[in-house]
Symmetry: C2
Subunit: 220 residues, 2 copies
């Protein structure tokens, strides 16, 4: 027993800082997503992370700082998932579709991340809401670039920066709101949810009412 | 002077409670929208309302209660403006257009209301975020009914409750996010902003990229 403890302690000591931090953040996202910011305790997070409380504070600071570190990491992962997923050299509809798939794919696979990032951060307000607003701003900027590029490629006349930016704001808000709705209807498959938003923003209600629907395999 | 004060006091006393409360809420929305919840003081609100601080507390309670009363009144006004604006017996596109016009018309005319309702309530979190979530839920329910009715009228097959509700969630999120963007670009005319969202959700990017745009006078 004593020998095993020694081995464990030795192994624990050898863990690089990055690995320790990842363990802590994984545990924190799990606990925050289940209990919310207020009810989550550093005791529970340290237990789930398998790390002592003093170590926890030493690594990532107070509960507020830990929550901020969680929202930062999860937002970076989300943005990376979308950036990786979007097939930028394809036709505009494929770009949009791959982007939506990546977004809803991430949310579906990392519900705890989305809960912390979106719902918990919103319900906390203050600095967390400011973080979230900053993330939204970056997402809108990214989507606005895609929209502007698609408009240029398609030769749409008179699509100014403001048109692209406001369309992007609407699209990001729609995605966010639909992902939030999805949290309460978790049995819906990711592809179905993504296809609904694709149909709404690519085809529009006008086409849908006329029975025209967008399919992944549709000709452009 | 003394006589005038007496007259004023007499007039003040005769004001019905509803009128007093409206004065207070008008002042509170103004102050909260300019300064935010934290920086706003009951002193300033009582000054703007032209009402003593003890009276202010007697009528609407603490600053938290006053803020909640503001978000409730403004959300009721917003919902009423939309319900009044939507021409429900018209074609689906006219219904959507009149609804969007009413929404952006309200936000444009009552920027302070929208600021308090959306941005301040979001950045405060806690009970205010819960109020806002409740309002969003009601808005989504209302829009989902419209979508479901339009789908039935147009004979769109297989539009289930969940389709309508999730489309409505996306639409409400898009409107909210665009109105939020508009706060930072206040020189854009209300009709332009409304037309952008109309084009996005009625025509869709697919039609826009092909140069098909929705106009208020377009044939159906």
């Amino acid at each position: 027993m004593a020998a095993e403890q020694q081995v464990r302690a030795g192994r624990a000591k050898r863990l690089p800082r990055a690995v320790r931090e990842r363990q802590i953040l994984d545990a924190a996202v799990d606990v925050f997503s289940r209990l919310g910011f207020h009810a989550a305790s550093m005791d529970e997070i340290s237990e789930v992370a398998g790390i002592s409380k003093p170590m926890l504070y030493a690594y990532l600071g107070s509960k507020e700082e830990l929550f901020t570190a969680c929202t930062r990491r999860e937002s970076a992962r989300l943005m990376e998932a979308i950036a990786t997923g979007v097939e930028v050299d394809r036709a505009a509809d494929v770009q949009l579709w791959t982007g939506l798939r990546a977004f809803f794919g991430f949310v579906g696979e990392h519900r705890a991340s989305w809960l912390v990032l979106h719902r918990q951060a919103t319900s906390q307000g203050g600095p967390f809401a400011a973080e979230l607003a900053e993330l939204r701003g970056r997402a809108i900027g990214l989507v606005a670039e895609l929209v502007a590029r698609a408009a240029v490629e398609a030769g749409v006349p008179g699509t100014g920066e403001r048109d692209a930016e406001s369309m992007a704001a609407a699209l990001v808000g729609a995605g966010e709101s639909l992902a939030d709705w999805w949290l309460d209807h978790p049995d819906e498959p990711s592809g179905v949810v993504a296809a609904r938003l694709m149909n709404l923003v690519w085809m529009g209600f006008g086409d849908l009412v006329d029975g025209r629907v967008w399919h992944p395999g549709s000709p452009e």
